[in-house]
């Protein structure tokens, strides 16, 4: 089991934003979470990745309980998230964005940056090679030297994905990767995600755009008002009347 979510709960002033959510993401799986606005999906993400402290419940990643681990510790353990509104390093180029994400860089220590010039240089070369690979894979070569702040929304999402890949993450949590992205790029992005998944990286994806997600994931969880109301294959879930009621509501009627 890769990721186990065990009864996560979060409330603001009596209002339960996430209540007792529990499900599991098997190793190398592609899992989606859907739900209407305000269902608590993004909060759930923040709870899993440690950006918010849960009131109750826990998360286990690859069998180890994460308890009150910080976002940084969680990311270092191999589980990396992206954001709903892309958080690119806007003044750095795409290449630098990816370089920055590589873990364990000696040159990030001031002393080494000044005095262990050779070591740092060698390591930079190594990272640069990996970055070129990633850029090629994500088809970002044309914009590699453009400051990330000037990219389109879709390209920024690719940069965020690229950064997550550079960390060597085994599990990537994507927060609405298709939101505000044009259909061609959505298709492109889906293909990349599937390819990565085939290489063994697990994905947990929050999405609004149901059709795109349906084609991508093997398992779908549905949230409504902070609660998990259904789980199963996309076909099963969409057939569930409670889901149709809560999520598709007016559209289905």
């Amino acid at each position: 089991m890769s990721l186990a979510i065990q009864g996560l709960t979060k409330a603001y002033g009596g209002l339960h934003v996430v209540s007792d959510v529990r499900f599991e993401v098997p190793k190398g799986a592609l899992v989606g979470v859907i739900g209407p606005n305000g269902a608590g999906k993004s909060t759930l993400f923040s709870l899993i990745t440690g950006f918010l402290a849960a009131d109750a419940g826990d998360v286990a990643f690859e069998g180890r309980s994460l308890g009150r681990a910080s976002p940084m510790e969680r990311a270092r353990s191999g589980m990396v998230r992206t954001f709903q509104v892309p958080r690119e390093f806007s003044h750095l180029t795409v290449r630098e964005n990816l370089m920055a994400a590589a873990p364990g860089q000696a040159g990030e220590r001031l002393i080494d940056a000044f005095f262990r010039f050779g070591t740092v240089k060698a390591q930079e070369k190594e990272i640069a090679a990996k970055v070129e690979e990633t850029i090629a894979f994500l088809r970002l070569a044309k914009v590699a030297d453009v400051p990330a702040g000037r990219l389109s929304g879709g390209q920024k999402k690719l940069v965020e994905l690229g950064r997550a890949l550079m960390t060597g993450a085994r599990m990537i949590l994507l927060d609405e990767p298709f939101a505000g992205v044009n259909p061609v790029l959505i298709e492109e992005l889906s293909v990349r995600i599937r390819e990565l998944n085939e290489r063994g990286i697990g994905f947990l994806i929050i999405e609004h755009d149901l059709p795109a997600l349906n084609k991508l994931v093997s398992t779908l969880h549905v949230m409504d008002r902070g609660e998990l109301i259904a789980s199963g294959t996309p076909a099963e879930v969409l057939a569930n009347p409670r889901v149709r009621d809560a999520y598709l509501g007016g559209a289905a009627a």
Partner: protein, 288 residues
């Protein structure tokens, strides 16, 4: 013991002034999301306008209302000329611009009035004594005025449509924009209210002390401290924190040394932030 009580009352008075100014600061912060360093200078403008009105009419009430009005107008003007343009920029930009606005205000006041002091020529009265505690009638009036102002502000915030919109914008600017609350109108009301509240703090401070171009600027650090202590963007917190700061400073400084009064405010702030990084009353903000 009676000395102790008198100090507490005195601290309460200073605290109300600091709290009102912190309220003005925190109102803007809640909605516009930056710390307005010109808050102190709005206080000064209010005090000068009030002294002008008072000298012209002989009525402190008319003078005070004029101060409030001019404070509100200054707030609105600074919003339209400067801060509206800076919306959506990093909060530090607006903070720096507000420091510049403060400089300009002090410059204008300095040119018009010079650097000498002005005072409210109000009659001073000897205190009443209750059980050996001296109560100063002027304090009661100042305290009552401050409380009345707070009441009005909270009524506006909680019982009027525009106040509800302000709070909605403060809670979630994005959501408020989507749900069609006209931010312009809200911002207009907000800056007017913040300017008026700051001006009132200035008038009360002016009555208790003297008026000079730097008076508000010099108060900025305790005011900032109170706003942060209360949980920035939290109106009730700002006022309570101001009062707490005022009282603790007044009571404790005889023991730690008078020259460390300001340092004490800072240390209280630091300790509280260490324990509660969001301030005494602040909510934890998530990552959107």
């Amino acid at each position: 013991m009676s000395g102790f009580l008198e100090l507490a009352i005195s601290g309460l008075m200073s605290g109300l002034v600091i709290g009102l100014a912190a309220l003005a600061l925190t109102l803007v912060f809640g909605v516009a999301r930056f710390a307005n360093a010109a808050t102190g200078d709005f206080m000064t403008i209010g005090a000068y306008a009030a002294v002008f009105g008072f000298t012209a009419t002989g009525s402190i009430v008319i003078g005070g209302l004029l101060g409030l009005f001019i404070g509100a107008v200054s707030g609105v003007i600074s919003y339209f000329l400067v801060f509206r343009v800076l919306e959506g920029r990093p909060s530090v930009s607006a903070l720096l611009a507000s420091i510049g606005v403060g400089f300009i205000i002090r410059s204008v006041l300095g040119v018009i009035y010079g650097h000498g002091q002005q005072v409210f020529q109000l009659p001073l009265v000897r205190p009443w004594r209750y059980f050996d505690v001296r109560i100063q009638p002027n304090d009661l009036k100042i305290g009552a005025t401050a409380l009345l102002a707070l009441l009005v502000v909270f009524l506006v915030l909680h019982a009027t449509p525009i106040g509800r919109r302000m709070r909605a914008v403060a809670d979630d600017p994005m959501l408020a924009r989507v749900s069609g609350i006209a931010p312009r109108k809200v911002m207009f009301a907000l800056w007017a209210m913040s300017g008026a509240v700051a001006a009132l703090a200035g008038v009360l401070l002016g009555i208790r002390t003297v008026i000079w171009p730097e008076m508000g600027w010099e108060m900025l650090i305790p005011v900032f401290a109170a706003a942060v202590l209360g949980g920035i963007g939290h109106p009730v917190g700002a006022v309570l924190a101001g009062v707490i700061l005022g009282v603790v400073q007044e009571i404790a400084t005889p023991y730690v040394g008078f020259t460390y009064k300001l340092a004490l405010a800072f240390i209280i702030l630091l300790v509280v932030l260490l324990v509660r990084p969001k301030g005494l009353f602040g909510r934890v903000e998530g990552v959107r």
